[in-house]
Amino acid sequence: MAGRAAAPSAWRRPSVLPGLGLSLGITLTALSLVVLIPLAALFIKAASAGPAEIWAIATSPRTLAALRLSFLGALFAACINAAFGLILAWVLVRYDFPGRRLIDAAVDLPFALPTAVAGIALAAIYAPNGWVGALLAPLDIKVAYTPLGVMVALIFIGLPFVVRMVQPVLEEAQGDIEEAAALLGASRLRTIFQVILPPVLPALLTGFVLAFARAVGEYGSVIFIAGNIPMLSEIAPLLIVIKLEQFDYAGAAVIATLMLLLSFALILLVNLIQARARRRLGDV
């Protein structure tokens, strides 16, 4: 897409439209003041702690436990969301049933519902005396105030990402090749897994990454249901808040930087895998 037609030295392609300077100026100024400079302050603060202290904060058992819970929990929730999101998108695109439109609209609820509201509602439902918690209590399954509760909240907030990424691709995938595969004698399962789903895979992966990225940093919906027991059900964002409340700014900055670097690295990794797959399969 980049300006290939322009002379190699020009940074932009000539255009008759006005306003590039103004619009780019507004964008870059706002972006720098609101996002980039504050993030830079975070990295500087973290770096100013010095290698020994950074290492001590990063490898303290409590930090490691919190990071492990946030990242593994987000990974687990994103996997659940990928599986159920795919089924949900499939059902919404291909089947007709009463209330389908309503269900379709409801999928976006986690985007619209404030996380604190979701948090107290989930805590109320999955608490031992809640609607679902009471059903699980006789089975000796505790959800609220355990790591399982963290997963429930992370599944809640990540669900729409997968559905909304997969849905449009599934809609496009309906058509002739599917019939052709069936008429050529492929079984239904084979048609689904070898003809319909492969083009959906990149979108599924993108949805997975978005759900994961959102879940890693999630705070509001988790803290009410998690119970927040150190080393057990304490997520990394909460640990940052705790450090801040103790005026341990350097500690908060180091954990925040670790979180950002880890999640950026993971997102980059998945994007690279995806780019490679795309090159191999041809542009999807």
């Binding site: 619009s23 964008t27 409801a106 619209a112 964002p237």
Partner: protein, 302 residues
């Protein structure tokens, strides 16, 4: 997605379960049993994770009856929290609209180097934890922050005050408007604008009478999502607010305080207002997608 416009080959017309489409379906499509099973699984999943929480909010909010509900949302702290939430959104959303429109204009109408990097940077706040979005401002403007001494010397309050709340809210909602506008503007192209300019219209007139009307529905869509997030933001705001009752307490923070004080019914009463906002947002969103699905389809595609 407006499903009315989608070609569906299993569109078995409701009145007559004709035999013809049946044979067409048997080639591509699952057996009714599998269909029913998949639908049941999806609905159960949604019920468990999405609908039950929503219902709970309203049920718990009504636990102490109408008078308890009214008392919870009209007591002074609740009213000032509602007012503060509206004020923060009223500053943060227009700011993001201006920046979002400017960013979309630059990115969709021009070709320049570093464009993909710019898009990634605009999307950056999506992958930053809300808590970190608040933390960065504390590190910058807090009492022990880099600019703290300077601000204190000049009597400017940012953290634990309105500016901090607004900044943190702008940070987390930064990408929303631009993200909806960019793909739509790119899909429309610039031929209309070029024609108008050639015919002698002034640049601002071109913008206000051609570009803006062309993208108004995706702009509204972006504003809707931006506003929902701005009013509901919790993590980022919690870090910079200090939670001073009646002063820096927004609605989501008020919900938390009430809940932690075991005033569950009151917490859910205030939460029900936010849930109502979410339902209105969803309804408007569904309406937009149904009515102007073609116009904003481009923005759903990315």
């Amino acid at each position: 997605m407006s499903d009315a416009t989608l070609p569906r080959h299993d569109a078995a017309a409701a009145p007559a379960p004709a035999a013809k489409p049946q044979s067409a379906r048997s080639v591509v499509g699952e057996s009714p049993i599998i269909q029913a099973a998949l639908i049941t699984v999806s609905l159960a999943f949604l019920l468990l994770f999405l609908l039950l929480p929503l219902i709970t909010v309203f049920v718990e909010a009504g636990a102490r009856g109408w008078s308890g509900y009214r008392e919870a949302i009209t007591e002074p702290d609740a009213v000032s929290a509602i007012r503060l939430t509206l004020l923060v959104a009223a500053i943060a959303v227009p700011f993001n609209v201006v920046v979002g429109v400017a960013a979309a204009w630059a990115i969709a109408k021009f070709e320049f180097r570093g464009k993909n990097l710019l898009i990634s940077l605009i999307d950056l706040p999506f992958s930053v934890s809300p808590v970190i979005s608040g933390l960065v401002y504390v590190l910058l403007f807090g009492a022990q922050g880099y600019l703290g001494p300077f601000l204190r010397a000049n009597g400017i309050e940012i953290i634990f005050a309105l500016p901090g709340l607004v900044l943190a809210t702008i940070f987390v909602t930064f990408p929303f408007v631009a993200r909806e506008l960019i793909p739509h503007m790119q899909a429309i192209g610039s031929t209309d604008e070029e024609a108008a300019l050639t015919l002698g219209a002034s640049p601002w007139r071109v913008f206000f009478s051609i570009t803006l009307p062309n993208v108004k529905w995706s702009l509204f869509y972006g504003v809707l999502l931006c506003n929902a997030r701005a009013m509901g933001e919790f993590g980022a705001v919690a870090v910079v607010s200090g939670k001073i009752r009646g002063l820096t307490n927004t609605m989501p923070l008020h919900v938390e305080i009430l809940y932690n004080e075991y005033m569950s019914a009151a917490a859910f009463a205030v939460a029900s207002l936010l849930a109502g906002l979410a339902l209105v947002t969803l309804a408007l969103k569904a309406l937009l997608e149904w009515r102007y699905g073609d116009a904003i389809a481009a923005s759903r595609r990315h």
